[in-house]
């Protein structure tokens, strides 16, 4: 790795000007605000008396401890550990000397503080390395100045600066004060991948000790003197809105302080892309304890009325668009009937190569299959919640958000406060999966606090959480494949749509591998709110595409892995079209690795195997999944997973995430389902919404990473979507039956 200009991220490294001029004294003045919250973690070592802030990401204590800020919020993906690991490696220190803090929400210092889209490590990779490398350089410069030797002759090893010829050496702590006063270098040299000492070496999660001892970490645990508990009552069905309410029987209930209506989004405002919200008029109940408010909520008398069609303006990342929301009380049966009808008509063409119509007409064999999936609820284990303390002059909020910046504009508009007067504290999240990118519950908490003139913690019940969702949409896809007389795939057609969005990726595999290719899409509008759910759209398309290819391979009398590899060979050597958005070699690479590690040709006795591979979120994943039959019940016995996500920062944590993605995939494919009747979700809690449990999880999971020196891409999402395909294909081997409708063990699938 050569030298790198620091200018891209220079803003983040420019020191607080007062600190630069005041040096040590200001080093003291930042002590309070920078004091690590968790002292007990390093009980074995004394805390430093002084910290020297080198840049926004790190400060060095006078005893050699280093505090590193994790800029992005944590929801279980492990960034609190992996991001500081990147900084620490370039800084060249011992991991045991590192303390980690969640950085404050501050876009000026930390840029885009976002958890989602498998983008965390990918987008931070260069910046975090520079944070460590520039600090290391400044320490070297400080030592060079002190020892009157050229900076180029100074070396570092695990937090120690040394000058070989003079024999001088010093710990980072000794040079930190001087380093903190130096200019940030224009250019620094990053480590070569082979010289990494922390990146690529598994480290335990820095918060595990707190998790296993029950420390307050999550938004729902947030404590604030005098804070009241709030809950919000929302319409019982999509397509309904609040007409009126009678709080007379509730106000007198024990512990109840106030009951009032709030309106989260006004009709005239332009909404942000993540302001998704079907229920903007709510009744807030504020009281002294959760149980009292929960009881009052059950007793509130509210009347609801049907919505009419309505429009609102939305700022879609700089472009203002008009969004129409249809009236009506929708049902799952109706959705499937509509989707079947749409699928029978021509869609909007998204990509066409060659002459697919003619080739299908003259094909030796045509295979056509249709697939569908239901809505899904995110069901983060920590229900939505937020703390807010809003006064006339400022607002302090704290809670679980994947992207606090996305809430800022709406908060500012609705509170009538400038953004700089709104402070959002990022707490650890009890899961996210996309759901916590939609901040309506933070807006609600703020408005409730404002009206109640009190600090409040808004808590959703599980029922609120499941029935006021921003769901994974319901999708449908029809695939057709044409084989010639030699069993070559000569045409491929995908037509996909959904309620309310299309899941199509027109330029993904097998686009580019087939001469005649057609991709079409359609959409059915709905008033049910939908949003990002772990690997949006891919979470349907991967599974069904890979299940379909399995059937095509079978019709062509080819091994399913060989069949895919042949297509990938074609896409590599002689690609069709120019916009193919995957690298055939890397997709083939994970298939080959999974084939090797699973010993594909020799499955265990009684095991029925399915394979799948997919590209999404810049990474590649393949699974070989084994099912054994336990009487009539299929059990996932073993999954071998191969992933190419470039350099893996924290391998054991990365494996954990992939294991979780596989279990999540098996769970959602087998059982996940949210259905609607007259606008109401038919599932409201875990007694009716089936989540995968211990005895249904795969018995064993092996995760293998392709070793390369490609900058890290993404990992949270890529291993999830293809699981559904591997499972469908293994189920077919086990039972002789193909599965076309998720959930595989659901009513629709069983009744056909």
């Amino acid at each position: 790795m050569a030298s790198i200009k620091t200018k891209i991220g220079r803003r983040a490294f420019i020191k607080n000007t007062s600190l630069a001029s005041g040096g040590l004294v200001l080093g003291f003045s930042i002590l309070n605000s920078c004091k690590p919250k968790d002292v007990e973690k390093i009980a074995v070592r004394e805390m430093p008396k002084e910290w020297f802030e080198i840049n926004a990401y790190l400060k060095i204590g006078d005893n050699g401890l280093v505090t590193i800020q994790c800029p992005n919020p944590e929801f279980g993906q492990g960034v609190m550990t992996s991001m500081p690991m990147i900084v620490a490696d370039e800084l060249d220190i011992i991991w045991e000397d590192v303390l980690v803090e969640q950085a404050p929400f501050n876009a000026e210092k930390y840029g885009w503080q976002f958890t989602g889209g498998s983008q965390g490590i990918r987008r931070r990779w260069e910046g975090l390395r520079m944070a460590g490398a520039t600090a290391r350089h400044m320490l070297k410069q400080a030592a060079a100045n002190a020892w009157q030797v050229p900076v180029g002759e100074i070396e570092t090893t695990e937090g120690v600066l040394a000058h070989k010829t003079s024999g001088k050496s010093a710990g980072y702590a000794e040079m930190a004060a001087a380093a903190a006063q130096l200019e940030v270098p224009e250019e620094v040299t990053l480590k070569e991948v082979k010289n990494f000492t922390i990146i690529g070496h598994s480290k335990k999660d820095v918060e595990t000790q707190k998790i296993i001892t029950g420390k307050p970490l999550f938004g729902i645990d947030y404590q604030y003197e005098g804070a009241l508990i709030a809950m919000a009552v929302h319409p019982p069905a999509f397509g309904l809105k609040l007409k009126s309410f009678d709080d007379s029987n509730v106000r007198s209930m024990p512990g109840i302080v106030d009951v009032f209506q709030i309106n989260t989004l006004t009709d005239d405002m332009t909404r942000g892309y993540f302001d998704t919200n079907a229920f903007t008029d709510l009744v807030a109940i504020v009281g002294k304890s959760t149980w009292e408010v929960m009881n009052a909520k059950k007793q509130l008398q509210a009347e609801w009325e049907p919505i009419t069609d309505y429009n609102f303006k939305m700022d879609r990342f700089g472009t203002e668009v008009e969004v129409t929301v249809p009236k009506g009380l929708e049902s799952t049966d109706g959705h499937y009937a509509q989707m079947t009808e749409m699928a029978s008509k021509p869609g909007t063409v998204a990509r066409k190569d060659g002459n697919p119509e003619a080739v299908f007409k003259n094909a030796a064999k045509v295979i056509e299959r249709s697939y569908s999936c239901p809505f899904l609820a995110h069901n983060c284990m920590e229900p939505m919640n937020f703390f807010a303390n809003v006064t006339d002059t400022d607002a302090h909020l704290a809670g679980p958000l994947q992207a606090p910046a996305l809430a800022e504009t709406t908060l500012s508009t609705r509170l009538g406060l400038p953004a700089e007067k709104i402070d959002i504290e990022m707490t650890r999240m009890g899961g996210g999966f996309g759901r916590r990118a939609y901040a309506h519950y933070a807006i609600e908490a703020a408005l409730i606090s404002k009206q109640a003139k009190s600090p409040v913690k808004l808590v959703y019940t599980r029922e609120d959480d499941m029935t006021f969702g921003i769901y994974r949409p319901s999708y449908h896809a029809t695939y057709r494949a044409a084989l010639d007389e030699n069993n070559n795939l000569v045409a491929f057609h995908v037509k996909a749509g959904g309620v309310p969005e299309t899941p199509l990726f027109a330029n993904r595999f097998p686009a580019g591998a087939v001469d005649n290719y057609l991709a079409e899409q359609w959409e059915i509008n709905s008033n049910i709110t939908i949003g990002a759910f772990r690997a949006p759209r891919s979470n349907f398309m991967a599974g069904v595409e890979q299940a379909f290819l399995d059937e095509v391979a079978e019709a062509a009398d080819k091994d399913p892995i060989d069949f895919r590899l042949e297509l990938l060979e074609r896409a590599k050597n002689n690609p069709v079209g120019e916009n193919n958005d995957y690298e055939p070699d890397r997709l083939a690479g994970v298939l080959k690795l999974a084939r090797e590690k699973s010993n594909w040709a020799n499955s265990a006795p009684g095991a029925h195997r399915g394979v799948s591979a997919y590209f999404c979120h810049n990474s590649y994943a393949a699974h070989v999944l084994d099912i054994v039959m336990d009487g009539e019940t299929p059990k996932v016995n073993n999954v071998v997973c191969a992933i190419d996500c470039g350099i893996v920062v924290n391998p054991d944590a990365a494996s954990n995430m992939a294991e979780g993605a596989i279990i999540d995939g098996v769970g959602n494919a087998m059982y996940g389902s949210l259905t609607f009747k007259d606008g109401r979700t038919e599932q409201t809690n875990f007694d009716t919404y089936k989540m995968i449990r211990h005895n249904e999880a795969p018995k064993n999971i092996e995760v293998h990473f392709v070793k390369n020196e490609i900058d890290p891409t993404g990992l949270g999402e890529p291993p999830f979507p293809p699981v559904m395909g591997a499972l469908a294909n293994a189920l077919y081997k086990a039972t002789g039956r193909r599965h076309y409708h998720q959930p595989f063990l659901g009513k629709k699938e069983i009744l056909g």
């Binding site: 000790q209 009292e292 920590e382």
Partner: protein, 151 residues
């Protein structure tokens, strides 16, 4: 409202609440022990698991009035320094992802090992089946329970 003297993590706590209040909310709201988590409120997810005597129970379904003289242990009181064999195993295997369900998982697992120090895989699955982990750490949980059993 009524006054209750509860034995929690070896200490006696006096609280004044409605007798129907579930222990979950007594712990979280009134005693400020928030390690015990709210997940579903209907004993379906296990996030609120505590020990009542030696038994793992769902605190969201345990009214404070039903506790009486029985000792309550929460995740905060499972060990003095976070070094119960189950906690140590959780650290060794680095089980958690988001971590929200893990206190409940640990409380269920520690109760299991107390009554059955060497459970089979099936016994582990059966005992742990009431605890949902949305992140999907089930395979690691099983490994950690076995690790704790061996220690």
């Amino acid at each position: 409202m009524a006054t209750f003297n509860l034995k929690i993590n070896g200490e006696t706590k006096e609280i004044d609440v409605d007798p129907s209040t579930p222990m979950l909310w007594v712990l979280r709201d009134h005693i400020k022990l928030v390690g015990t988590k709210y997940g579903c409120g209907i004993a379906q997810c296990g996030a609120c698991t505590i020990h009542l005597g030696d038994n793992a129970v769902r605190s969201c379904q345990l009214p404070v009035s039903a506790v009486g003289e029985q000792e309550i242990t929460t995740i905060e009181g499972l060990s003095e320094n976070g070094d119960h064999p189950v906690q140590k195993a959780w650290l060794e295997i680095d089980v958690p992802q988001c971590g929200y369900c893990q206190a409940g998982q640990i409380m269920t697992a520690s109760a299991l090992l107390k009554r059955n120090p060497h459970p089979s895989d099936t016994e582990i699955e059966t005992a742990m089946n009431g605890n949902i982990c949305r992140c999907g750490t089930y395979t690691r949980i099983k490994t950690a329970v076995k690790t704790a059993a061996e220690s």
